[in-house]
């Protein structure tokens, strides 16, 4: 049994994939906690789409794909933050405008670039088994930097999430903190692109944090549970993908979705079973 479970990890490509999954899971779980608590899942979606034209342009110009994606993602995040300062337009409308436009730009750039087919597919759906040592190193360094930034800004991000007005009165720079958070979301997404691909990356950001929120009312615990759930899902999905020869990105997302549904039904305080039991007691 142990041998059977351990067998896949003897291959170098699976070891690289494992590291990539763990790193993506931890980073997305932690950053995703802030995203879920601020109710900005839509921003994650926008940035994920915005990364696409950056990757496409980098591909056309033979530049680093991850860097291209990160630049485009951050640029879009800043644009959203600036335009949503105008209170006449709600944030979601601004985001709706930009993420479709960004994706459209990516498609046009790629259609003008010969030989894009394979890269597009691996970009959209992940390429966890085809990564290099260099990819792993980049992700580990970026991930560590991202976690350090999250830890550094933690207290301020909490104060702003609790009450923007009072935080502003206390002298917090809300605009700078918003940009910092958007940038962190972008980097988490870029880091995780190779594991699950552009379309599914949002699931790794949102679902583990949402599941963790159902399990606890403590931020500290949530920030441990979310990355644990994300990393566990990523590694299990990877394993299942090896065992049954199915798409890794899709399996990772399905595993994390099953965990979310289990939390939704069985969570100790906020789960469906518990809520029904409470209601039955009150009747």
């Amino acid at each position: 049994m142990i041998d059977f479970l351990m067998e896949p990890w003897q291959h170098a490509f699976m070891q690289r994939a494992l590291l990539m999954c763990l790193a993506s899971g931890v980073v997305c779980g932690i950053v995703g906690t802030h995203v879920v608590l601020r109710g900005m899942a839509f921003i994650g979606d926008a940035v994920a789409h915005a990364v696409f034209p950056g990757v496409a342009i980098a591909f056309a110009l033979h530049l680093n794909l991850a860097l291209g994606g990160a630049v485009a993602g951050v640029a879009t995040a800043v644009l959203i933050a600036v335009l949503s300062q105008n209170r006449r337009l709600k944030e979601d409308a601004v985001i709706g405008v930009f993420f479709a436009a960004a994706f459209a730009l990516g498609i046009v750039v790629l259609s003008a670039t010969p030989g894009y087919g394979g890269s597009l597919e691996s970009f959209l759906f992940g390429q966890i088994l085809g990564i290099s040592d260099q990819d792993v190193r980049t992700v580990l360094v970026a991930g560590t930097a991202l976690l350090a930034a999250t830890a550094f800004l933690h207290r301020r991000l909490v104060a702003v999430a609790l009450d923007r007005e009072t935080a502003r009165a206390a002298g917090h720079h809300l605009f700078a903190l918003d940009i910092a958070l958007y940038t962190m979301v972008t980097l988490a997404i870029v880091v995780s692109l190779q594991a699950v691909g552009n379309i599914l990356v949002l699931a790794l950001l949102i679902t583990p944090a949402a599941a963790a929120r159902l399990l606890t009312d403590r931020l500290g615990l949530m920030m441990l549970l979310a990355p644990a759930i994300a990393a566990f899902s990523a590694v299990s999905g990877l394993y299942l993908s090896y065992a049954y020869n199915l798409a890794a990105g899709g399996l990772i997302v399905l595993v994390v979705t099953v965990i979310f549904l289990l939390c939704w039904v069985f969570a100790p305080k906020h789960g469906l079973v518990r809520r029904l039991a409470m209601r039955a007691r009150h009747v």
Binding site: L37, A169, R213, T216, D217, L219, M222
Partner: protein, 229 residues
């Protein structure tokens, strides 16, 4: 401590406050009274440095509002706060100090603020499980954690039951005796008359300003509340 002279504030090109004169000295507890849209919250926000003043000037403890930022205690309306955030009472209070450099004393300061509002026993409870009165006390504790010399409260009495209102009244009176300058907006006239040393009737500008017992002329109340005479 708060000194506003000839203050005009415009929001989106509309003049919300005009020629407002208001002084709140240490040890005073001033109630801002007026109808909805009179500019009460706008005045608080201008004192906090969140809104620019287009004429006149405001000083807080001798400094401009933006220089005084982070030293003024502010208790927002209860619905402004993210009560669904997964955090305990104590951590919520400590987060009010996030703009200051972290020191071990934050813990003691938060505990002191919680004991002032009689919430120490509930410090470990998630904020989402608190009642309305307990939530109000958490917001007051967050403001007190700054150890402010100036305290602003926006509608603190709204929706509180009588015992909680009494406890808040006692606390505000105690702070006033400790020479804190307190300014609060309220729609609750009986509570305001009981707790405030002065009432300021505001409707775009200051209509009347004096101790509750002296504001007996019905004309000024009619004028403040915009009732045609």
């Amino acid at each position: 401590m708060i000194d506003a002279q000839g203050v005009r504030v415009e929001l989106a090109g509309r003049t919300v406050l005009e020629d407002v004169r208001l002084v709140v000295a240490p040890g005073e507890l001033v109630g801002l009274i007026g109808p909805n849209g009179a500019g009460k919250t706008t005045l608080l926000r201008a004192v906090l440095g969140l809104l620019p003043v287009s004429a006149g000037r405001i000083t807080v403890g001798g400094r401009g509002p933006r220089q005084a930022m982070g030293t003024v205690g502010y208790v927002p309306q209860r619905h402004e706060f993210a009560w669904d955030y997964p955090i305990s009472v104590e951590k919520a209070v400590r987060s009010a100090l996030a703009h200051r450099r972290f020191t071990a004393s934050h813990r003691a300061v938060a505990e002191e603020a919680l004991s002032q509002v009689d919430m120490l026993a509930l410090r470990g409870r998630p904020i989402g499980e608190l009642s309305g009165g307990q939530r109000q006390r958490v917001l007051v504790a967050r403001a007190l954690a700054l150890r402010p010399r100036v305290l602003l409260l926006d509608e603190p009495f709204t929706g509180l039951d009588t015992p909680t209102q009494q406890a808040l009244t006692d606390l505000l009176t105690k702070l006033r005796r400790e020479d804190v300058a307190v300014l609060m907006t309220t729609h609750d006239l009986p509570a305001a008359r009981q707790v405030c040393t002065r009432l300021c009737l505001l409707n775009r500008t200051v209509i009347a300003d004096g101790p509750p017992d002296e504001l007996t002329d019905p004309q000024v109340w009619l004028k403040a509340f915009g009732v045609p005479i």
